[in-house]
Symmetry: C2
Subunit: 334 residues, 2 copies
């Protein structure tokens, strides 16, 4: 009897000790889980998905949103800077479209207020899709299958760029990645993380990384200077937020990138100069925090970062409505 | 009673008349239905699908098989000639990958015996994906997710180009398009075609088009000279089959393209010079048959051709295994 009571006390003590051992009260963490999205208007999302995959929205007929924000590869192109019309070398690394609805603004310098405002940018950028909004709209208007889909989604057969970007944004809003192992840990599953990953998170939280990389997207919610303690030796001419505000104080300020799915979104930084997470953690800790992590500490943080990979959006590859005889053909070589 | 017998005879006569009216004994038609494919090795197909969508098999990290044989767009790029590495202008129109397993050989000049032999071509072509087989294999070998998939599909962790092309071909063999309205008509559904479509088919069959465009793929099973009755004024330097055989008689002989899904695979001919089906039918009838169809006849044939659009392959967009720190990054601008 005494023995049983002894064991019961030991088990109770162990049970109480678990939260203490993980030293986490998920409710009080600076990072919150990503929530799944239930789209209000599925027809709009389906139309947006088609437009997202449609290279006819580019001058060449070759480049779609998915070319540089590839949903097979973490919503990026995994290139240092992107390839645009006529093999134009882009000025900046393509940020992931995944969880981009959680960003405080779009583009590295935040020049677009939201996804709808962003969606029109690359279509008309001569170094990206190289088209114009007017030509894109004329093209869609010439495709009977699209006209029918716009009619269903918007109640009108007259396509405008407003509706095009609204549909693309509606699709992009569905591209969230819930259910990462880190989120499962946040939601109370103490076994979702390994000891190494948890040690990495504690270091990430305790060393100052969370000052900028916080919230559900683990970033995306502020503009910060690249190179706080030590200046960043940039090879890229990008100057960040100053291009939008005109304020000198905003020079080299960039939107803090989300760290969700960061395992998939290499290379890193606005200029894509860091090829690996190890390198990115090392550079950021030195430049932003004045810290040099040991190899083991760095590896632990990298292990934690890889636990942020969530469920990737899965869907059927869209079939695009065919062009009509009146649809202008792509002009890649003009 | 007499009245009832009269009606019964009328109904019987009508029932017997239906096959006579359609004037088709589908069993004797020169075109046969496309059969659905049940892959023997689903793991191999899934691996091949990933490789088909993986731009890391190109030097730039930007161009995949799906870039030019886009499964959202009838397995083509809908461009006159394709865009390759460094925006290279391709010499020839990208043929559709749909039903390509039915071709007697691959490429317009038939220089590859089968899909496996074809699959390695674009990867190593400097004007297409611009890579080498050795680099492609090294790259895949550096990606743990791929190594595991190769192990499952082939029982070995050592990747070679043999396995890469075998997997891509296995996926491509699944890309058939059964169940077109024309096939349903062939299989006995007299209502599957409109009168106009049927009139178009009769003209297609009776005017000599079926001499080359026959079999399940409505083409793809012979090499024929482009310009039999009247020479074709080519703008493209492509000379066709002579490049393979060295025989003068094979100059301007090209593989007869499949007409399956031809509604989706514009523009037409090896040089992509015909933008519309109307134009393609007009040119081919003049050059190959010495015929000039009236506008109505041409429109009927086009209506028939559009009944050849089958069920497009539908599948979940593949998620690609991420690169490791050791995986070489794409080099678009070297």
């Amino acid at each position: 009897m005494r023995r049983i009571r002894y064991f019961a006390i030991v088990i109770l003590a162990l049970a109480l000790a678990v939260p203490a051992w993980t030293s986490a009260q998920p409710a009080n963490e600076p990072i919150q889980p990503i929530k799944a999205v239930k789209p209000a208007n599925q027809e709009l999302v389906e139309l947006g998905k088609m437009l997202y995959f449609d290279p006819r929205l580019s001058k060449s007929g070759f480049i779609s949103c998915n070319s540089c924000h590839n949903l097979s590869m973490g919503g990026t192109d995994n290139l240092k800077t992107s390839i645009g019309h006529n093999w134009h070398k882009g000025p900046i690394n393509a940020p992931t479209v995944l969880n981009s609805s959680l960003n405080l603004a779009q583009f590295w310098d935040g020049r677009a207020a939201d996804l709808k405002a962003q969606a029109g940018g690359p279509i008309a950028n001569p170094g990206e899709m190289g088209f114009t909004h007017a030509l894109a709209v004329d093209l869609l208007q010439s495709i009977p299958g699209y006209v029918a889909l716009f009619k269903r989604a918007f109640g009108t057969e007259r396509v405008t760029i407003e509706e095009v970007t609204k549909a693309i944004a509606a699709f992009e809003e569905t591209l969230v990645t819930p259910n990462s192992r880190f989120d499962r840990w946040l939601e109370g599953d103490a076994n979702a993380l390994s000891e190494k990953e948890l040690a990495g998170y504690k270091l990430f939280r305790g060393s100052g990384c969370v000052a900028c990389h916080n919230g559900p997207a683990v970033g995306g919610n502020s503009f910060q200077k690249m190179g706080v303690v030590e200046p960043y030796k940039a090879t890229s001419p990008a100057e960040g937020r100053v291009a939008v505000t005109g304020k000198d104080a905003d020079r080299f300020k960039f939107k803090v990138p989300t760290l969700r799915n960061v395992e998939l979104t290499y290379p890193y930084f606005h200029d894509g100069e860091a090829n690996t997470l190890t390198q990115a953690v090392d550079t950021m800790s030195r430049l932003q925090l004045g810290k040099k992590f040991s190899d083991e500490e760095n590896a632990n943080i990298v292990a934690f970062l890889k636990s942020l990979t969530g469920d990737q959006p899965t869907f059927t590859l869209p079939l695009l409505p065919p062009s009509s005889d009146l649809t202008p053909r792509g002009h890649p070589f003009d």
